[in-house]
């Protein structure tokens, strides 16, 4: 969207009935790296691509546990995300203290949405610049919600947000009917495959993505590094056809990584069946 004379502050409507500052806040979510959430009858899964500000730094954390039965993935301004995470954790703790039972997801999501709406209402405040995918389980089953900086919230079967998330959404739109009865492993693989669609270049590794699962009998569990490696390997195993079909793209990615890596990648391509063109990072470690 373009700059215009109605986008100066939070309290100016455009003649078309839009408040541009809120929409710009929603743009901030698109600047963050991709995150997806999806659910089956028993489990809800979050998967995110992590970015590192530089080669020297660690990857930015995007998945946060709120309570044993729910967690969030954020995309956008991380600092805003941390504040909302802290608010949600506090609300869940209070609920557990008063009622000795886990907080129903829909209510917490509504409260966060009301809190976000307050940022859109006053000239002395600004909207939160972060989108939240809230995944959890309560009495009425698993849920995936999306909290928008505008103060809206939506209940989803599957959702993706962040940079290049449209590709992930397209993948999920094709596959979502199989999610309801999928096993946990299949659900995680779907999440990773959706995430892969949002990757600009490079490959999914256990370092640059994180996954979290929560289910009726399963508390919120974060899968990262070693615990994620088998799922990444499984996703790669399923894609030799895709990899062979686009070797040019694969090699271009390899060259970006460096000569030695490219050499080893080509060797493994020759092996076949062991992994696709991009399998260099997990194998080496």
């Amino acid at each position: 969207m373009f700059r215009n004379q109605y986008d100066q502050d939070n309290t100016t409507w455009s003649p078309q009935g839009r408040i541009f500052q809120i929409e710009y806040a929603m743009e901030a979510v698109k600047q963050g790296s991709a995150a997806v959430g999806l659910k089956s009858h028993e489990y809800a899964v979050l998967a995110t691509l992590k970015r590192a500000p530089s080669e020297l730094s660690s990857y930015q954390r995007k998945v946060f546990k709120i309570d044993d039965h729910m967690g969030i993935a954020i995309s956008g301004l991380t600092a805003d995300g941390r504040i909302l995470c802290r608010y949600m954790r506090n609300e869940c703790l209070n609920h557990r203290y008063v009622y000795e039972s886990p907080m129903p997801l829909g209510r917490l999501v509504r409260q966060v949405a009301d809190k976000a709406q307050m940022g859109t209402h006053y000239s002395h405040k600004r909207p939160y610049g972060v989108g939240l995918i809230v995944a959890g389980v309560d009495e009425s089953g698993p849920h995936v919600f999306y909290n928008c900086p505008s103060g809206n919230y939506y209940d989803y079967k599957a959702f993706a947000m962040g940079a290049r998330s449209q590709a992930a959404k397209t993948y999920m739109e094709r596959q979502f009917e199989t999610f309801a009865d999928a096993s946990l492993d299949d659900l995680v693989k779907h999440a990773l495959q959706a995430l892969q669609a949002s990757l600009a270049d490079g490959e999914l590794t256990d370092k640059n993505c994180s996954v979290a699962v929560v289910g009726k009998g399963m508390p919120f569990t974060l899968l990262e590094d070693e615990s994620l490696a088998p799922y990444i390997a499984a996703v790669k195993e399923e894609e030799p056809a895709v990899a062979e079909a686009a070797p040019a793209q694969g090699e271009a990615a390899m060259e970006a990584e460096g000569g030695a890596a490219a050499g080893e990648g080509e060797q493994q391509q020759g092996d076949g069946g062991d992994g696709d063109a991009g399998g260099q990072a997990p194998m080496e470690q």
Binding site: I83, R86, Y87, R89, N90, E91, N94, Y97, V98, Y99, E100, S101, P104, G106, R107, R110, Q111, D114, K115, M118, Y122, D138, E139, S140
Partner: protein, 284 residues
């Protein structure tokens, strides 16, 4: 704009708020509020509501109960829970209010009975009604479960006790949820427990022994009602602050029913009662 909540006073402190209070009131609304200490977790400050102190009235604490109810009895049976009590609001020794419902419905799966200061019970019912109304307005299928009502009341009563301003009640919470009966009790200090049969006040001494002897978890409703009638009778005979007018409340899978008041057969025609002044001068 957030509506200012009415009965969930901020003076109740942490852990005693309903869902509507979880949204912080915007600061623009509340200019005169001195927030001495705001928790770094981002929650609301746990300050006594200055508005409650501002209008010059001294802050009064409950030091003594005035209009009181006596025992409440509760037992679980095969398909649910029965609560029983009389309908008296006593003013000291005077049997002043003879039609006071001390058993009230919270929602389709939960009932609460109270002894002790009845105005405090009415306040507690107002809190519970606000929570139930919030659930209704939320319209998401979640309603307060009996265990949640019990836990909430524990926190409210304990919190008030900590402020040296107790809600002078002994409460019984009975409910039926997910196919299982629930029965718990909360005292004015916040002491709480759950059990297969509970009683408050005199009922603890008069009725519990009968319950211990006759109660089984797989009792039928008729057996449970008969046991309660027996206990109510003993309580009426032996507790001076009671009347022969009782109600029984039932929670089961079908929901809540609170009976119309009824009386029990009692026997007073004992020879020694017939001429009460016979030994007035003394036996020696």
């Amino acid at each position: 704009m957030q509506p200012r909540p009415q009965s969930h006073s901020a003076a109740l402190g942490p852990g005693c708020t309903g869902p509507s209070l979880a949204n912080p009131t915007p600061l623009a609304f509340d200019q005169q509020r001195q927030v001495a200490q705001a928790p770094s977790c981002g929650a609301e400050a746990f300050a006594v509501d200055p508005a409650a102190l501002a209008n010059g009235q001294p802050r009064k604490h409950t030091t003594y109960p005035y209009v009181t109810g006596t025992s409440v009895l509760g037992i679980t049976y095969k398909d649910g829970v029965l609560l029983a009590s009389d309908t008296l609001g006593a003013y000291g020794s005077t049997k002043r209010y003879k039609s006071f419902d001390r058993l009230r419905k919270v929602n389709e799966s939960c009932i609460v009975g109270a002894g002790g200061e009845l105005s405090d019970f009415q306040y507690i019912m107002r809190l519970l009604e606000e929570l139930s109304d919030d659930d209704f307005c939320m319209d998401d299928g979640h309603t307060l479960k009996p265990a949640e009502v019990h836990s909430y009341l524990c926190r409210v009563l304990y919190n008030r006790r900590n402020k040296m301003d107790p809600l002078w009640n002994s409460l019984v919470v009975g409910g039926f949820h997910a196919g299982k009966p629930f029965l718990g009790t909360v005292g004015m200090q916040g002491t709480n427990y759950t059990d297969a049969h509970v009683a408050t006040g005199f009922g603890n001494h008069l009725a519990r022994p009968l319950m211990r002897e006759h109660h089984r978890p797989d009792m039928s409703e008729d057996e449970a009602t008969a046991l309660l009638h027996q206990c109510l009778k003993v309580c009426y005979y032996r507790d001076k602050n009671s009347i022969n007018k009782f109600t029984i409340a039932k929670v089961s899978a079908e929901g809540v029913t609170i009976s119309e008041p009824f009386a029990l057969e009692t026997e007073w025609r004992y020879k020694l009662f017939e001429n009460p002044a016979a030994n007035a001068a003394g036996a020696w």
